[in-house]
């Protein structure tokens, strides 16, 4: 099962490597990992997408909580939540593809943020599945480069992860 783990941790040098090291040392899977400071710059917020059975997820949560730098851990996917990922994708845009690409970007509510006579850079936000769908929808031969941030997540409504 896919899970989105949200972690609030001390914004200290090495905190990221402690979390990443834990996942590799215990052979847990990381699909994506994002991290940045919060409004309180002594804290970092990390989102990890992982896969595993209920037993493995229980261990992941416990092991993360055991790290001295980690303050709180929540499995966002246990309840209502929102997940978003940002993708920047550079595509070849010449001839008839130029118009087609613009239309596809519109359908997916993307924005073209860089234009040359032969390329576009499209900015797209959404769930990972939506970004996958966009990549599937366009001609693979036209993709020059993709950059994805990995998933960031937040609980809906009153679900708040705070110190």
């Amino acid at each position: 099962m896919r899970h989105i783990i949200s972690i609030l941790l001390e914004n200290e040098a090495g905190a990221l490597s402690r979390v990443a090291g834990l996942f590799s040392a215990r052979a847990y899977n990381i699909e994506s990992l994002t991290v940045a400071p919060t409004e309180d710059d002594s804290l970092s917020r990390m989102t990890i997408v992982t896969r595993g059975s209920d037993e493995i997820l229980e261990q992941i949560t416990k092991q993360l909580n055991k790290l001295v730098d980690v303050i709180k851990v929540v499995d966002l996917s246990e309840a209502a939540h929102i997940e978003r990922e940002l993708m920047l994708i550079k595509v070849r845009a010449t001839g008839k593809d130029r118009e087609e690409m613009k239309r596809m970007a519109e359908i997916f509510r993307g924005r073209i943020i860089d234009v040359t006579d032969s390329t576009y850079v499209v900015e797209l936000t959404g769930t990972g599945a939506k970004l996958d769908a966009f990549i599937q929808a366009i001609d693979a031969g036209l993709i020059l480069e993709t950059v994805r941030t990995g998933v960031s997540g937040i609980g809906r409504g009153d679900r708040i992860l705070k110190v």
Partner: protein, 569 residues
């Protein structure tokens, strides 16, 4: 008061009432060594290799309730310490390891004796710090001691660049420390404890299984009261020996790969298993699927939630400090009127006595050959069972665990988790400093002892009256045993040729060396060592039966009730 970083390090150690620091100097820690020189409260023990510094600090910690402290230099000093740190980490031993680092401005430039100590040690420490500013030094030291000793204990590394030890700031040692990200649970959940007691009172085939957590939390007294109050059988794992007196009728011995028949069968066939400060290690329960074939309810008390339901699903988890939880259980039992199911318990004991009657620890005394088990039995006799026994890793470790009947906690020091050969002598050193009034023994083999043999020199420098019992079978015994049993007796690289003359070697270091070759000489040699040479370090090189194997044995991947007994072969 303004102080240099080096002075602050020493003052912090004094504030923490650290009596002994085990270490080895080098460029990056010279400022600290200079400050050590100028005072006499903290005593420095110069070892001969950094690995032994950490093991000795570890041995001191295991034999007391204190945090062990080691001090090493940057680069090779730190990397040599890693085996010691990983050993302590696997057995949850509280240590603070201070490592020197190259000056801040040189970090990352491949400077002389530079290594990424924080990176290298990260997977084998409870936590580590790189101190970048002298103003953070005192608080970091306080945190290091706090983290090492509280919750599930473990080693903490404090890496200090040389310029930080020279920089000056105001010294202010915090009395207490609050960390928003680190607050270990102490009190167990009362509802869960009540559930556990109800389950125990209804049990028909109960079993108590305890590990290193009972020793580390000093809960032997509570465990003994609880076990006697319930009248249940109890076993102590390799890490938990001494938590319950081995001579008591309710004690079934050690469970696991080389556990007794009665302990393993009672573990396997119990209907309610009370696990305390133990972690269902592969060497203890064998194959978890086989273990899970018998339906049973498991209660698990541990201070570390990640130990619970890690290898075996638990029915009643209780997160908390062992002595606190056991006290709560005892309180609930005091208020209970129903009592245990006495009839079922009597029947269960009858079954257990049947297993015990197999006398699985019996061994054949071969003519003219010294049996290693016999040596340990005699060692127990001569020391009155009162010695602190440090062990290395291998067959001798198992025989010491099986045949030296531990009556009290913190008397058995061994590397159970990592299984580090070479720990024995440094463990004995650490214990000897902490317990100058006790008999200190190192049970070892001719292979293990050579992994830290240089410490014979440290023992000489500090006149430590350690008795080294070397069960010399001229083989890497445990490797040889596996090769005999599972690899068609192909003894690949397990034969120790060209051994040194250990008697002369001991003498070269200034100690007493005695070789023992006949069974009838064992007792006299032990008495000579412990009585005539009470105050000397004695190296007993005892030539034992080369073919002796450790039994009973649960082969790797097998179940607890699938033991191989000595008589089966």
């Amino acid at each position: 008061m303004m102080m240099t970083g080096a002075e602050i390090v020493i003052r912090c150690l004094q504030e923490e009432k650290v009596e002994y620091v085990f270490g080895y100097p080098g460029g990056a820690v010279l400022h600290i060594y200079d400050e050590l020189f100028k005072q006499d409260k903290v005593k420095h023990i110069l070892v001969r290799h950094e690995q032994a510094a950490v093991h000795a600090a570890d041995g001191l910690a295991r034999s007391t309730q204190q945090v062990g402290v080691a001090l090493v230099t940057s680069g090779p000093g730190a990397t040599n310490a890693v085996t010691g740190i990983a050993t302590a980490y696997m057995d949850s031993i509280p240590l603070v390891i201070i490592t020197g680092q190259v000056p801040s401005a040189y970090i990352g430039q491949d400077a002389f004796q530079e290594c990424d100590t924080v990176g290298i040690t990260r997977p084998c420490v409870k936590h580590n710090f790189l101190v970048k500013d002298v103003r953070e030094l005192a608080a970091t030291m306080k945190k290091a001691f706090h983290i090492a000793a509280t919750g599930r204990p473990g080693p903490v590394v404090v890496d200090i660049p040389k310029d930080v030890t020279a920089a000056r700031c105001e010294f202010d040692y915090p009395k207490t420390i609050q960390m928003r990200s680190y607050n270990p649970v102490v009190k167990g959940h009362l509802g869960q404890i009540k559930k556990a007691v109800d389950l125990l009172l209804k049990a028909k085939r109960p079993m108590i299984y305890t590990g290193g957590g009972v020793i580390l939390s000093d809960a032997a007294e509570q465990l003994t009261r609880l076990t006697r109050r319930l009248g249940f059988p109890v076993c102590n794992t390799l890490m938990g020996l001494g938590a319950y007196p081995a001579s008591d009728r309710q004690y079934l011995g050690m469970p696991g790969m080389h556990g007794t028949v009665e302990a393993n069968m009672a573990m396997q066939h119990s209907d309610v298993l009370l696990a305390i400060g133990a972690r269902f290690d592969d060497r203890v329960i064998g194959n978890p699927e086989h273990f899970g074939e018998v339906p049973r309810k498991i209660i698990h008390i541990d201070i570390d939630p990640s130990s619970i339901s890690k290898r075996v699903k638990v029915d009643v988890p209780i997160v908390g400090s062992v002595p606190d939880v056991l006290e709560e259980m005892l309180k609930l039992l005091d208020g209970d009127k129903t009592g245990v199911d006495a009839a079922a318990l009597a029947e269960w004991w009858e079954e257990i006595e049947g297993w015990r009657a197999k006398q699985c620890m019996k061994y054949k005394q071969k003519k003219n050959l010294i049996m290693p088990q016999y040596v340990i039995e005699k060692l127990h006799e001569v020391t009155g069972g009162e010695a602190i026994v440090a062990s290395d890793v291998g067959q001798h470790q198992m025989w010491a665990a099986q045949y030296y009947k531990f009556e009290k906690p913190r008397r058995w020091l061994n590397s159970g988790g990592l299984g580090t050969m070479g720990v024995g002598m440094p463990y004995a050193m650490g214990a000897a400093f902490a317990h100058p009034d006790k008999q200190i023994v190192c049970v070892t083999g001719e292979a293990s002892i050579q992994m830290c043999i240089q410490e014979l020199s440290t023992i000489q420098q500090f006149r430590l009256p350690i008795k080294i019992i070397c069960l010399n079978n001229r083989y890497l015994g445990m490797v040889r045993q596996w090769q005999e049993m599972f690899y068609g007796s192909r003894y690949s690289q397990s034969y120790m040729d060209s051994l040194p003359d250990f008697v002369k070697l001991a003498e070269a270091y200034g100690h007493v060396g005695i070789r023992v070759e006949k069974p009838e000489d064992v007792e006299a040699a032990l008495k000579k060592a412990f009585i005539d040479h009470k105050d000397d370090c004695v190296f007993l090189d005892i030539l034992t039966d080369q073919k002796a194997n450790v039994f009973p044995m649960v082969a790797a991947g097998k179940g607890l009730s699938e033991m191989i007994l000595a008589e089966d072969l």
